[in-house]
């Protein structure tokens, strides 16, 4: 039996625009896919590319970053800093084999509750089509080659020790 794959998406939303927009979507009772887990930051500029990598490494199938529209940042220009570094991060992710919209940067103002819905639904569907990324599973898979040897070595070591003891 194959269950429908439900992607896990970690979102970083800025307090003033996108998080507020997500609240607005709630107040407006808009319905959208339950696949996104929002982490609140004061500004999208607080999002360190390390956070994005960490989210992927810990099992996110997608990472969404939401900030104020250019020119509308609560902190004047934080979102430009986000944009600049995330453009580079996107290139790096691509070089590391993570692309096709698994990482997404969206400008959503506090008034755009509906955009929260459409972006989340759209991203969920797109990531669902891509299938699981499952880095924790992959890490385990990759490390099997050393686990095998670890087991072997420790076994032979145990044997050696007994020989030695004799």
């Amino acid at each position: 039996m194959t269950e429908k794959f439900e992607p896990k998406i970690v979102a970083f939303f800025c307090n003033w625009c996108t998080y507020t927009a997500a609240d607005l979507a709630g107040v407006s009772r808009l319905k959208y896919a339950p696949n996104v887990r929002v982490i609140r930051v004061m500004c999208s500029g607080r999002v360190d590319p390390q956070f994005v990598l960490e989210a992927f490494a810990r099992g996110a199938d997608g990472v969404l970053l939401g900030g104020c529209h250019p020119g509308d940042c609560h902190y004047a220009e934080g979102n430009y800093k986000t944009l600049r570094r995330m453009r580079m991060l996107e290139r790096m992710l691509k070089d590391m084999g993570i692309y096709d919209g698994r990482f997404r940067l969206e400008w959503i103002s506090g008034a755009e509750g509906d955009k929260v819905r459409t972006v989340i639904n759209d991203m969920t569907e797109k990531v669902r089509k891509l299938g699981p990324l499952d880095l924790p599973g992959k890490f385990k898979e990759w490390d099997k080659e050393i686990e095998e040897l670890e087991a072997q070595v420790s076994k032979s070591a145990a044997k050696e020790e007994t020989v030695h003891a004799r």
């Binding site: 390390q50 960490e54 570094r85 991060l89 070089d95 590391m96 990759w142 040897l149 670890e150 050696e160």
Partner: protein, 321 residues
């Protein structure tokens, strides 16, 4: 004469530069040799694996291992040395974070073998012969170690007590580590034996760094006449100094070349490349996507630039296929 403490040196996937660094201790090396018994040092002395296997566990006081772990043989060796040693010091960038060899984590094992034995220009291998792990020759069985699927840092294979950073570690840091070992004045396990503050602290160009870089272009060192006094980032060169642990006394910037990050990040940072990107690209000038991209185009190989010595320690560990 009481037994001198036993010390071992070993190399895995490395260039030999770390061995050079030990030799670079110059006359100081005599003090070391006087104080300890070297029981293994493949580059300089003839010991066999069986010699180590024959030693009791934990009988080696300290073992310095450089190089990344790429093959089954290296893995066997480091596991063996771990068992025989009280303290393992991960020595140099390759052991600490994969180093240059870890850039191979952008390719698959098959991809590498295929390129090396089939596709590489100038290759004369019409039958596409590849080395075999095992073969029979005149009745003897010959074996070769197998390549792992990826390059690992030493601590991704065995537990490690200390780290000496650098490509290679500087003689000064090596000597300090050896002295600490000999005197027993050891920091907590897991410590990197170098100041936990970024390189700019000790860089002579520090004062010339402007507050706002507002970079509009990145250049590679061969493309510019480098001003020997001025901050290299301010000259549009990718200098990893701000995101790199100090301790080398800014050797490269002192030699008119930008820091490429071999000392790895400070203890507060998990992923050196990502953190550097966060910092330096926040400070470029343009605001429009097109213009931003034009600036980024100045860095043709981001992974090779920001993870030159640390791809094994990238949070993603390797390129997915």
């Amino acid at each position: 004469m009481p037994d001198k403490p036993k010390v071992a040196f070993y190399w895995c996937a490395s260039c030999g530069g770390c061995e050079e660094a030990v030799v670079d201790l110059a006359e100081d090396i005599l003090k070391v040799v006087e104080a300890v018994d070297i029981v293994l040092w493949p580059v300089a002395m003839d010991f066999k694996r069986s010699d180590i296997e024959a030693r009791p566990d934990k009988s080696i006081v300290a073992c310095f291992i450089n190089g990344a772990v790429r093959t089954t043989e290296q893995e066997e060796w480091v596991r063996l040395l771990r068992r025989k040693s009280q303290v393992v010091i991960s020595f140099g960038a390759c052991a600490n974070s994969g180093g240059i060899p870890a850039l191979a984590n952008q390719s698959t094992k098959e991809g590498i073998l295929k390129y090396v034995y089939e596709d590489c220009p100038g290759l004369d291998n019409p039958n596409k012969t590849r080395p075999q792990l095992k073969c029979e020759d005149e009745g003897r069985t010959l074996t070769l170690p197998e390549l792992h699927g990826m390059v690992r840092s030493l601590d991704q294979v065995i537990d490690v007590e200390y780290y000496l950073p650098g490509c290679p570690p500087t003689p000064k840091l090596i000597m300090a580590a050896v002295l600490a070992l000999l005197t027993g004045k050891l920091p907590p396990v897991g410590t990197v034996l170098s100041p936990d503050i970024a390189l700019c602290e000790e860089c002579k160009r520090k004062d010339s760094k402007p507050a706002d870089l507002a970079l509009t272009e990145f250049k590679r060192p061969h493309q510019v006449q480098i001003d020997p006094e001025k901050c290299l980032l301010a000259q549009g060169l990718v200098c990893m100094g701000p995101a790199t642990r100090g301790g080398c006394e800014a050797l490269c910037p002192g030699g008119n070349m930008p820091c490429t990050g071999c000392f790895g990040p400070t203890s507060r940072v998990k992923d050196q490349g990502a953190k550097f990107v966060s910092s330096v690209f926040s400070n470029i000038a343009p605001k429009e996507v097109k213009e931003i991209d034009a600036v980024l185009d100045g860095i043709p190989d981001p992974i090779g630039t920001f993870y030159r010595y640390g791809l094994s320690k990238c949070l993603l560990r390797r390129k997915l296929n």
